[in-house]
Symmetry: C2
Subunit: 426 residues, 2 copies
């Protein structure tokens, strides 16, 4: 029965702080969601003794070991030979892999340096795990070690290559060989505008504690809610569907997507559905709203453009905000936000005009309008909305949160949900 | 003699993949720069046995152990009591710390939950490390273990609290007790526009290999070059100054800053120096240039605003790009870029007009103008510049790289350096 997994991350770039270990994070997240327990993560540099130490420790702690890194062609890539040595499995050259590497180089019109053949060597009895995106295949090795049967996986360290190999080749094997007919199924929902503790209350009772679990992951400014259900496969499948729907209903308009989908992608989907074309007038966000909207491929279908009106002159000249409005209410006011939204809509001949004006700090705040005061406006052909929020945090957080609120307004308007009174995170 | 350090990161959020372990990366980077070797990083969840295992392994591997996490007030914060147990140092309550915690709660107008007193308990003979930014102090414990004298540091897991504690309290202690009069000094330079291998050639011979080291860290789109010099303190100080200057001269205009300074901060500094006020016209970057400029506090002093002209209508209406120019040369052309820069400069009454127009992909490319074709323009009162580059990568990379080039143009123009013919990263 496979329950426990140990992870090894290998590379000098990790122990010298040049690179953050995102591989272990990715693997831990996926393993946890699938019902496995990561008992330890061991990170070592490109040093034969240390790598050997890590593998010995890992097999002491867990039935499965998954390692990333150290499979490259250079002299400091030591994972394969170290594993072969520690577990007494001499290396062999796999001719098919060697030929594949030769062909890769030929296709690039380059001679293959001889050390690249290193990547065609594997411990005896290893099962080779093909790498579609690079020259370094991985391998699985099943060994009998002091503490019992152990399953060792070696994957390359390049995240782009490692991730699909894990998802397509490692995880299915683990699930098949779990040695238990308990399935772990999960669904993830993205939420915005509600704090983690309020979320916790909101979803209380949706999932019976003995069979499922809800976990929250705050990644400012959104919080994702993961539902994990375990049990016999058929029942788990039924329950994850049913409880997922119940959960989604409870989350209501706070939930903007299921899965790994961003707010700007959702906004794009809604704008395509409605056929509306959008223009934005930004002050304190400085262009961040437009940047996020245009991160989505094909956004030119619904995004016309915007004005970054950082100065009052720009608010008047480019957006038609009235001099009197600025004098009486100030650049950061619901009145100005409203005129910005109306102005940008008209001047871009858009269906929807969106505006943000606020004080991102650290300077520029006052008693009446402290740092974090941000006003938003939304104009359509028939209606206008404007509202003031009190945001918090650093300049960076305020800008990011303001851009999220602006995008969320478009989404909420498109799905006919009301605009929120306040926005929370913690 | 202290050379080797082992790191322990504790927390279920790490072993379940909810959080990336940035603490270990920060510590590894700082320790490496100071001449220490991180022999292993051990990551475990909030489990007493696993934490004990990690500490035992760590003291076997290194003279110094630095742990982060597990110092909070809740039942799953187990670092202090586990360390006390493993190393046979019973806990004591520090009255001064306890009183400080009580006062913190009083200042917030709240009663202190009793479990917060946990944070005032420390292993006997530990030296308390004050935490200016949170309730959890850290501690240092010197113990004689099987393998010899060991120095154990426990720090909180919140990065904002941990980092200053390490820099102000741990690192100075390590340097003082290194037991060697060898100093490790370093300087970091930020570069842009040149590949790592070309950098490597450019700086060859600047530093004698036996006494110093150059290391590169690529964080797209910039590459930082770190010079580390070791030797007797006085000599090292002289050499790091001298070689640093030599290095900076070699790097030339590719080097945009020393230290942890961003391109947008440098642009802000240069604009303040020259007194120039900037306006930007963006197409494919969608607002990213404005966003980055306004990430710098006080940017309203030199940034007037911009236009995100995603559609041709916006390029004509808001920026005065000629219909004929768009028809003859297309929206992505040096001609259009030039007119955008001139137009945005005039209409914002700015000193400097900056423009970007390109094809970020994945769609919209052609044989003549493939994805990654990006044109830039810069207009002053007396001159205009425009140039076309072939960029590469995903939509996200192309946008980011384009924004970096645009900012770099402003910097180069301000310091009187030429605008580059091409831009490289790898």
């Amino acid at each position: 029965m496979i329950e426990k997994v140990a992870l090894i991350s290998t590379g000098d770039e990790l122990t010298t702080g040049r690179t953050v270990d995102t591989n272990a994070n990715f693997l831990a997240d996926r393993l946890f969601s699938a019902g496995f327990e990561v008992v330890a993560i061991l990170v070592v540099g490109d040093d034969r003794e240390r790598i050997a130490w890590a593998w010995r420790q890992a097999v002491d702690q867990a039935e499965v070991v998954i390692s990333t890194g150290g499979l490259g062609p250079t002299a400091d890539d030591l994972t394969t030979e170290t594993v072969a040595e520690v577990f007494g499995c001499p290396l062999f050259l796999d001719e098919a892999v060697a030929e594949g590497i030769r062909q890769r180089f030929a296709a690039m019109g380059r001679d293959m340096p001889l050390n690249n053949l290193k990547q065609a060597r594997f411990p005896r009895s290893a099962v080779i795990l093909p790498n579609q995106l690079g020259t370094a295949p991985g391998f699985r090795l099943d060994v009998d070690y002091q503490a019992g049967r152990r399953h060792l996986f070696a994957l390359p360290g390049v995240p782009r290559e490692m991730k699909p190999m894990f998802v397509d080749q490692v995880l299915p094997w683990l699930l098949e060989h779990r040695g238990s007919d308990i399935a772990y199924l999960s669904r993830v929902f993205q939420t915005f505008g509600i704090s983690e503790s309020a979320l916790d209350e909101l979803v209380a009772g949706v999932v019976p504690a003995e069979r499922g679990r809800l976990s929250f992951r705050a990644a400012f400014p959104q919080i994702s809610v993961r539902l994990t259900v375990h049990g016999p496969p058929e029942r788990a499948e039924r329950e994850v569907a049913e409880w997922g729907e119940r959960l989604r209903q409870r989350l209501g308009a706070y939930c903007y997507a299921e899965g790994d989908v961003s707010m700007e992608e959702v906004v794009g989907q809604e704008l395509r559905k409605t056929g509306w074309r959008l223009a934005v007038a930004e002050s304190c966000t400085g262009g961040l709203v437009g940047h996020r909207i245009t991160n989505v491929p094909g956004s030119s279908h619904y995004f016309l453009g915007g004005v970054v009106a950082y100065s009052n002159e720009a608010k008047k000249g480019f957006l038609g905000v009235q001099k009197e409005t600025l004098e009486r209410h100030g650049a950061v006011s619901v009145e100005t936000a409203q005129e910005m939204a109306v102005g940008v809509r008209e001047r871009f001949a858009a269906d929807l005009g969106l505006s943000v004006t606020g004080i991102a700090g650290p300077e520029g705040g006052s008693t009446e309008k402290p740092v974090g005061t941000v006003c938003f406006g939304l104009a359509t052909a028939t209606e206008t909305f404007a509202r003031r929020y009190q945001l918090w945090g650093t300049r960076e957080w305020i800008k990011l949160l303001a851009s999220q609120i602006a995008l969320d307004w478009v989404r909420r308007h498109a799905i006919g949900a009301g605009l929120p009174e306040t926005v929370r995170f913690r």
